[in-house]
Structure formats: C-alpha cells, structure tokens
C-alpha cells in the first residue's frame, strides 16, 4: 500500500476528495464543521434519515416537555458556514467497503474517500409490538417523539407511567410532576439512576422523586400494557401483581445502536455499536482497523486509556462533539498528526430542580465516598473508587467543584482521597460500597494519566504495571 501521508495523496484528499458523513445530528454536524475548519475543501455530503436539520436532543426531555420551548425549536446553531450537500430524509441502507460506496434508501449511492459514521442510537421500543402500538405509548428520542408526547401531556392525562428510571425516564417524570401530572415510575433496579450512578446515589434520586410526588416503584417490572376496545392505553400490569391505570406510558428502556444498515458490510458493527481505535478508525469484522472509515458519537465504542483501554460506549452529548472533532481531524491528517480521543467522560442531567453532573465512569467503581456536602441535603460531591484510584465523581448542585475531581481522575489519584476538603461531613469519613447492580469488573491495568489543559495539548503518560 502506498504511504498516504507523505506523498501528495493526502493533500489531494484535503483539496478535492469526497467525504461522506452518515448520521446528520450532533456528531455529524460538528464533524462537518471541523473538517472545514481543518481546511478540507473537497465535497462534503451529510446523509440523515430524519427530515430535520441537525437539532439538539437534551432539551427534548427538559424544556420541551415543560412546554417552555416548542419541539421544533432545538435546531443546533452552526459554528460556521458549511458548504455541504445535505441528503436529509434518506437513510443509508448499505456499505460496500471495497467499492467505497454508501447505498441509500432512495436507490442512489455515494462514493467516498473517507466515511464517517455517526448514526447514533434509537430508543428501545416496548418489546411487545401490539402493546407498543397502543395509543398512548411513547418513546423519546427524536423531536417528533417529543412533539407527540408534549401534545399528549398538554391534554392532561389522568396519570403518566414512566417505564425505566434512567436519566431520560427520570427527567420525563420530573417534567410531568412540574406540570402537575400524576406520575408512576416503574424501575426494575433498586432505585432510579442506579445503573449509571450506583445504589448510594440512586437512593438520593429515589428520595428526590418521592418528595416531588412521584409514585416510584422499584424492584418491579411492567409485565404488560393493556388497551381498551378503541386501542387506547388503559392500564399497566406490574410484576408484583398490581395494576396501574394510566393514559400515557413512556418507555425509557435504553437505546439500540443504529448499525443494522452495516449488517453485511464487513465492518465490526453490531448491537453494541461500532468498535473503533482511539483515533476513531472503525475496526472491520476481522479486528483490523480500517483506514478510511471513522466513527463518532453514540454509535461508537472506543478504548479509553484512563479506564484500562476498555471499550466505552458513551451516550453523552459532550462525547459526541469531542469524538466528532477528533475523528474529523484524523480523517484529513497524516498518521503522525492524528490525535487520540481521550476525552474524560462528562455528563449532566437536570431533574426535580437539581443539577446532576458526573465525570469519569462511575459504573466501574466498587466504592464511593461523599467528599463534600451531604446526601440528605441533596447537595454534595461524591468520588468513586476502583482498585485504589479515583475513577469518577458526581455532583448534585455542586458543579463548581467538579473540575477538581476531573483532574484527580486524569491523574489517577489515589482513592479514598488522602486529604480533607471544605464541607466534609461525618458521612464523608470513609468509603462505602458503590452498590452497582451488575459489577462487570475489568482486569487490572497499567497506570495511565492525562496531562495538559486543551485537546491539542493532552498528553498520555503510561506507567507499566511492574516498571
């Protein structure tokens, strides 16, 4: 294979190549802008199966359901003019790696020199199809979903059922309560948010919900949804034998990766997403990294040096942007100029008037310690530990401290922290089990730390285990 970087071919690509981006949402848009910022002047095509211009999803479960912002008002601002070809309302249906072609649902196909896949995820529907089709059963992923759900909430349903108390489900419950609607939340785990933040913090979330009048039922599953003769949702049956009468049910059971269109392409794409290297290059099914296919955003799984090179799938807004920027940069750079995607996972959620933020990967943790504030006051900072180092932190209304903990994580600082802090309470004196439902413990790894303040300045230091 001829070297791509040193001869003129990279220059040619940058000048007059064709780049196709499949998935025209947050990651796709930010990648496109970065490509232009990086000086790519060739043809740029964005393919998206939704008919809308790229829009922002986080407001859909917050401002939009509260009725403060119309569902079609969350269009993403452009950072710059793009000069791109938009193929909106058309799905990509197949990929031919050898011919470097993307096939589209309208029969057309697009040739590419570089391909970026940002097809994200979609809401997992209610598993029983007939029940899912009942009038009043919703999911929430797209602005169309949000518009429909909002319309239905406006009609003042007698009770709303939220199935699954993850972040989205909890935010929906919060919005409903704020609108004065009766809400039942059914969660299979022991508490809301337990999968993302563990049982200790989950307990705080549970109290928060109950204080705000949510009928929260944990350790219970919805076993069936029942409609009336007109096909309208009437009630839900729960695994504890009880029945709840509801007019609206929102299914918040997580997401499915949009990878079906790649099924026979030879790319390493499956239900868990598309695996890629730290430089965002996709792996093929043989585990060999491709040169011209890149991945970013919710659909990607990429190894993170800070977390034992585990492949992380992050359904995080910030990850979509950071990874898109790295992927775009690497698509038009020579191998030595490429950058790794070493973004430290960060997330926020707003519910019941509380600002919840996290950094790092809480579910990897075995222990947690409340370093500042108090769980009872719902105003605290907690650090998560794994094998003697701090790997995550969460704040409830204490966001101003979070960047300190992010640096601790990036420097692989010891856990429990060896120092005292302001606002340390008795409950913060020793760590307790973080209490995650299904600890899938990764193996021991070498110590890796990050340094530098900006993406272009980030350095990875590697300390072999027995150095």
């Amino acid at each position: 294979m001829p070297p791509v970087s040193v001869d003129g071919s990279l220059e040619k690509l940058r000048r007059e190549g064709h780049i196709v981006i499949v998935g025209a949402s947050l990651a796709g848009l930010r990648a496109a802008e970065t490509l232009r910022d990086e000086g790519f002047t060739g043809t740029l095509t964005l393919v998206g199966d939704e008919p809308h211009d790229p829009y922002d999803r986080p407001p859909l479960s917050k401002q939009v359901l509260l009725g403060r912002v119309p569902a079609d008002h969350t269009g993403l601002p452009r950072r710059r003019a793009l000069d791109a070809r938009w193929r909106l309302g058309v799905a990509a249906t197949g990929l031919d790696l050898a011919a470097k072609r993307v096939h589209l649902a309208d029969g057309d196909s697009l040739e590419y020199d570089r391909l970026l896949i940002t097809t994200g995820v979609r809401a997992r529907p209610w598993p029983h199809e007939l029940e899912a089709d009942l009038d009043g059963v919703f999911v929430l992923r797209t602005s169309d979903d949000a518009a429909q759900l909002h319309r239905r909430l406006n009609a003042g349903p007698s009770r709303v059922l939220v199935i699954g108390a993850g972040f989205t489900g909890s935010e929906i419950a919060s919005a409903c309560r704020e609108r004065g609607l009766d809400v039942t939340v059914v969660e299979r785990g022991s508490a809301p948010l337990v999968g993302a933040l563990g049982g200790v913090v989950g307990e705080v979330a549970a109290k928060l919900q109950r204080e705000h009048g949510v009928d929260l039922r944990c350790g219970v599953m919805v076993t069936g949804l029942e409609g009336d003769s007109a096909g309208r949702l009437r009630c839900a049956h729960l695994s504890d034998g009880s029945t709840v009468e509801v007019e609206v049910a929102v299914v918040g059971l997580g997401a499915t990766r949009n990878t079906e269109w790649l099924a026979s392409s030879g790319l390493g794409a499956g239900p868990r997403g598309i695996a890629c290297d730290a430089g965002c290059r996709a792996f093929d099914v043989r585990g060999i990294v491709t040169d011209d296919v890149f991945v970013a955003g919710d659909v990607a799984r990429s190894p993170h040096p800070l977390f034992g090179y585990q492949f992380l799938s992050l359904e995080h807004w910030g990850n979509a942007i950071a990874q898109a920027e790295v992927a775009a940069h690497n698509m038009v750079s020579s191998s030595t100029e490429r950058r790794p995607h070493v973004w430290t996972p960060s997330f926020w959620s707003a519910q019941f008037g509380v600002n919840i933020k996290s950094v790092g990967v809480p579910p990897m943790a075995d222990e947690i310690i409340v370093t500042q504030g108090s769980l009872d006051e719902r105003c605290f900072t907690a650090a998560y530990g794994y094998q003697g180092r701090i790997i995550a932190a969460v704040t409830f209304d204490q966001a101003k401290w979070l960047e300190f903990y992010q640096r601790q994580i990036e420097q692989a600082a010891p856990f429990p922290p060896e120092f005292t802090t302001v606002d340390r309470r008795p409950e913060g004196m020793r760590p307790v089990p973080a209490d995650f439902p299904d600890p899938s413990l990764p193996s021991h790894g070498p110590t890796v730390t990050l340094s530098g303040h900006s993406p272009s300045d980030r350095r990875i230091s590697f300390t072999p285990l027995h150095a």
């Binding site: 008002h73 807004w317 303040h453």
Partner: protein, 78 residues
C-alpha cells in the same frame, strides 16, 4: 437566532440568567434551562450573556449562519 449551551462546561454561574432572563432561566440553584431559539428581539441581551459567561459555554449563531459568540477554548498558547 439559534443557540446552544455546553452544559458540561456550565457551572451554574447564572450570569446569563441575570443578563438575558427571557432566554436563560435557572431551574433551582444550579440547573440552567434556556431557550435554544430565542426571539431576535433578545439578540442584544443574549450576546451580552454569552460574553459574560465565565466559562464561555454559550454558542450563538447569527441570522446569517455565521458564529457570533465565541465558543469556548481553554487552549494554551505559546
């Protein structure tokens, strides 16, 4: 006009909610709820808010599609 706030960067300093209360409101002490598409009449206030944000978390797009408020960059120089 369209805008977006990087709520990972946002630390709830509420400067935006002081300066452009039509577009930015605090929900509780720290959570920010904003209007991603405020009325053009709010333009002056929104731009003041974007400039005042201590962590430069607010990205505003002009009517012509060009970026008017600087996006954040904690970049080192030199």
């Amino acid at each position: 006009m369209r805008l977006v706030v990087d709520l990972n960067r946002c630390q709830g300093y509420a400067q935006c909610a002081f300066l452009a209360p039509e577009a930015f409101t605090m929900h509780g002490d720290e959570a920010l709820m904003y209007d991603p598409q405020p009325d053009d009449a709010q333009r002056e206030h929104v731009l003041r808010a974007a400039q005042a944000c201590p962590v430069k978390a607010i990205t505003v797009e002009g009517t012509d599609g060009a970026l008017i408020a600087e996006r954040a960059g904690a970049s080192r120089v030199g």
